[in-house]
């Protein structure tokens, strides 16, 4: 039986591949397996030490195999990862992808990667970006204090290290994932002081038209079970607003408002979460067009039926294509790989469509009920657009909401001019933690929809590389380019 070859140094890379896949989560793993099955030479590039992405983090190297606390949905990742590792592909773990661009000559793309401290450019005729999601920014006073983390971050520690939140733990925010995480932490023995639910009650009205589809969807059963479990085992406070983390140099308490009254809970660990958004830094920097999603309140790439972006030969699958969850991600990855195999001539149109038909049917089934969740769990506006002027928006450059509003009043019209004025989005995270907030803030201040404000133009390297790494780049003809705007 064939199996994936691990790439641990740049020297082990082929000069060119039919298909490069960025990300080894469910979409990337499924795409790799599908593409290899059609005879494509495939390179999978992933930042993490093992396959699984965030959702199936550490699935092949769990510190507590079979741990019930993580739930059956997590362990569904195991066969997917096993299939992936059995596929004849090149797999570079612990690898940073820092640039993607159309090759200077001929067709195809060039990808800037760093493996084991050395940089290389790799050529690929087709690319699938399976870069997944990240947690939506949660810009509230004190969110930069040590002791405040994302709930997903704490989940990563549970999956990868068997570490459970300890001491006085408060979860705050909204979204289905928040309840899942709470249930996992409780099942793993964490002592959760409270779950502060910030879902605005007005969302019911917006979500109601989508209720019938939700009732018929697989989400319902899971959701009800979760709600039942968490309600029974921890203190859930609804209708919470105006959250702030307080403490001198580190977190000491969380302050919030419930029913108009201010309350304070002492805590050692505050876990924030208000949904996830596509991680589009690489596709943005590669020039892929994107649009504002009015429901999910984020930018999503503009894609065709095969998940191909506005840049020919670059497809985007998984949650990076718009949030739809892990099982949909794998199906999207499969479809994107079928599309790539067709474009490379490994499938004709009939084979492509017949192969894709059952996958599409399953994807449609998985998507039922999503609209209800998207509407119901839209995060509250004051938790997306900080009303207090001294709240930090750009964590890297410590740019506050007040500075951003003042800049708009001064005539700054968009995030790129804002970047030039205030440096927000210019720090190492490249706007991952402030981009959406800045766009929504400018839109609100100018009274325009976010789609007219647009997104930060991101520049490669999309993750910092050291001067030494760059200096080590071989100066070959097959060089070395990236699109910026």
């Amino acid at each position: 039986m064939a199996e994936a070859s691990s790439i641990t140094t740049p020297a082990e890379l082929d000069a060119a591949y039919d298909l490069a896949i960025v990300g080894a989560g469910p979409a990337g793993m499924a795409a790799a397996k599908e593409a290899a099955g059609h005879g494509l030479s495939v390179l999978v590039l992933d930042e993490n030490a093992g396959p699984g992405g965030q959702i199936y983090r550490a699935i092949t190297r769990s510190p507590a195999p079979g741990l019930a606390a993580l739930g059956a949905d997590y362990w569904k990742g195991a066969p997917l990862a096993a299939d992936f590792l059995a596929a004849p592909v090149h797999y570079a773990a612990g690898t940073t992808v820092w640039s993607l661009a159309i090759a200077a000559e001929g067709s195809g793309h060039e990808i800037g990667v760093s493996i084991a401290g050395a940089a290389r450019m790799v050529a690929a005729r087709e690319v699938i970006l399976a870069t997944g999601a990240l947690e939506r920014p949660f810009p509230v006073p004190g969110w930069t204090l040590p002791g405040v983390m994302t709930a997903g971050g704490a989940q990563t520690m549970l999956k990868a290290s068997g570490l459970v939140p300890d001491g006085r733990v408060v979860l705050a925010g909204s979204g289905p994932l928040l309840y899942l995480l709470a249930a996992q932490f409780v099942a793993a023995g964490a002592n959760i002081s409270a779950l502060l639910d910030t879902t605005p009650s007005a969302n019911w009205g917006r979500a109601l038209p989508h209720l019938p589809a939700f009732l018929a969807s697989p989400y319902l059963r899971k959701g009800l079970a979760l709600l039942w479990k968490t309600r029974r085992s921890l203190r859930v406070m609804r209708g919470v607003s105006a959250i702030s983390a307080e403490g001198d140099g580190k977190l000491a308490s969380v302050r919030f408002s419930k029913g108009g009254a201010a309350e304070t809970l002492p805590c050692d660990l505050l876990l924030l979460h208000q949904g996830v958004v596509p991680n589009i830094n690489l596709s943005n920097a590669a020039g892929c067009a994107q649009d504002w999603d009015e429901t999910q309140l984020c930018f999503t790439p503009r894609l065709d039926a095969w998940f191909e972006s506005s840049v020919p030969g670059v497809a985007i699958a998984g949650d990076g294509a718009g949030i739809a969850g892990a099982e949909s991600a794998a199906l999207r990855g499969t479809l994107a790989a079928i599309g790539a195999a067709f474009r490379l001539g490994h499938l004709d149109a009939v084979e492509r469509d017949s192969r894709a038909a059952p996958v599409r049917a399953e994807l449609a089934r998985m998507g039922r009920g999503r609209a209800f969740l998207d509407h119901f769990y839209q995060p509250a506006k004051p938790l997306r657009i900080p009303p207090q002027d001294d709240t930090i928006v750009c964590r890297c450059e410590e740019v506050t909401a007040g500075m951003i509003r003042a800049a708009v009043a001064h005539g700054v019209t968009g995030p790129n001019q804002m970047k030039s004025f205030l440096r927000c989005g210019m720090g190492p995270c490249q706007g991952r933690q402030c981009g959406l907030t800045v766009t929504e803030m400018i839109a609100e201040a100018r009274g325009l929809p976010p789609t007219e404000i647009g997104a930060l133009r991101l520049r490669p390297p999309v993750k910092p590389i050291t001067l030494s790494e760059l200096a080590s780049l071989p100066k070959t003809e097959a060089a070395t380019r990236a699109v910026v705007r």
Binding site: S99, A101, I102, A104, G112, A119, M121, G287, G411, T413, G414, Q417, S420, F421, R423, M426, G427, P428, Q430, R459, P460, P461, P464, I465, T466, L467, S468, L470, A471, S472, L473, K475, T476, A479, T480, R481, A482, V483, V484, R485
Partner: protein, 384 residues
């Protein structure tokens, strides 16, 4: 929309909202002219907003020196001129010699400048070089310093100049693309994506797109669209005051007050002026990284945070086109600064306004005449 609408017909239409267009708008407005700036994107979107911000008289072509000296005087009172200091700091610029041979050439250059009456460039020995730039590699034998030089924040500077021009009555229209130019009865009609505008005088300050504007006026030029690349590091401990440039290898190097280090020097990516996109050439950026590695050992642990390129116009002789059209009355050119026009912005705007208002200037700009590229029989943009 027409120019007879709000604001009345302008005296001058400036095409291009870069630092040059905004500066000419400002200086024309200061002389009481009604000015309309047409910008296809937003002011400072391209080379003017994303360049290295070097404010440099150092190492210029001799033809540019008088204009550069004039512009430098304006930079030193920029806050007074535009009500914003534009982030301008004057810590000098140093041209580092990497070899004795280079230093010999530098000596000759400084002597020649002195003969012409310019004293801003000063030859320095290894001791003074080490004092000014302690981090430079031990192998460099000396250089030239221009102590009045410095750097500014490009986007902020362009915006400040634009805003001051607006304060004085200039109008700036963003997202307006010029489609055709025609002149009849002493009046230019500029047809744009937002309707036609009319004025007796047009200034072509369209940067990388100035060649298209010149061609619309029947005056094609051998302009090359280029995409000079830059990269910047994370905030690092402060180690250098002046801007450093090399002659033999392409490098310019500047640490900002916030600690970030900008690495440039003219390696070019590939521009696409139709889409505003540029394609970086990582092999050449790797060369820059290698040069920094050698000249500044202290930088070896630095991280590169971003790299980008601005879209700019370059002329075959690497000096700009400045002055009246050779073929059409009422048309003035101000482009082709060949990736070193940022410092010239304030001064060139002043010269343009002087030319438009008085028909002449005392600043020598003959070397920049557009006619140097014209060998064909004259054409004119006059309507038949």
């Amino acid at each position: 929309m027409s120019a007879t609408g709000a604001g009345g017909q302008p005296d001058v239409i400036v095409i291009g909202g870069g630092i040059h267009g905004c500066s000419s708008a400002l200086h024309c407005a200061m002389r009481g002219m009604r000015v309309l700036v047409l910008e296809k994107d937003y002011p400072g979107r391209h080379a003017s907003g994303v360049n290295a911000g070097g404010v440099r008289q150092l190492a210029r072509d001799f033809a540019e020196v008088p204009l550069s000296v004039l512009s430098m005087a304006l930079w030193h009172r920029i806050a007074e001129l535009v009500d914003d200091d534009c982030g301008f700091t004057s810590d000098g610029q140093v041209l580092v010699a990497e070899t004795e041979e280079e230093l010999t050439g530098f000596r000759e250059r400084v002597r020649k400048l002195n003969d012409l009456g310019f004293t801003h460039e000063e030859l320095i020995d290894v001791t003074e070089l080490r004092r000014l730039v302690p981090a430079v590699s031990d192998s460099c034998p000396g250089g030239i310093v221009s102590r009045q030089d410095g750097a500014a924040v490009p986007f902020r500077a362009t915006q400040a100049i634009r805003r001051k021009a607006e304060t004085l009555g200039a109008r700036v229209l963003e997202g307006v693309r010029v489609e055709t130019l025609a002149r009849r009865d002493g009046v230019w009609t500029v047809a744009t994506s937002a309707g036609a505008f009319q004025a007796p005088v047009v200034v072509n300050a369209a940067g990388a797109w100035a060649g298209r504007i010149a061609a619309m006026a029947g005056e094609p030029v051998p302009l090359k669209v280029i995409a000079p690349m830059l990269m910047i590091t994370e905030r690092r401990p402060h180690f250098i005051e002046p801007v450093v440039i090399l002659r033999g290898r392409k490098l310019s190097f500047k640490q900002f007050a916030n600690g970030t280090v900008l690495i440039g020097g003219g390696h070019e990516g590939r521009p696409n002026p139709d889409t505003n996109e540029t394609i970086l050439d990582w092999a050449k950026l790797a060369e820059s990284a290698q040069t920094v590695w050698e000249v500044f050992p202290v930088m070896r642990g630095a991280s590169i945070m971003r790299a980008w390129a601005g879209i700019e116009a370059s002329m075959p002789d690497h000096i700009p086109v400045i002055g009246p059209s050779a073929r059409n009355d009422g048309l003035y050119h101000q482009f082709g600064f060949s990736a070193h026009g940022f410092q010239l912005g304030p001064g060139t705007g002043a010269v343009m306004a002087e030319l438009i208002a008085t028909g002449a200037t005392n600043t020598p700009i003959d070397a920049f005449r557009i006619g140097r590229f014209q060998h064909d029989p004259p054409q004119s943009a006059a309507a038949p």
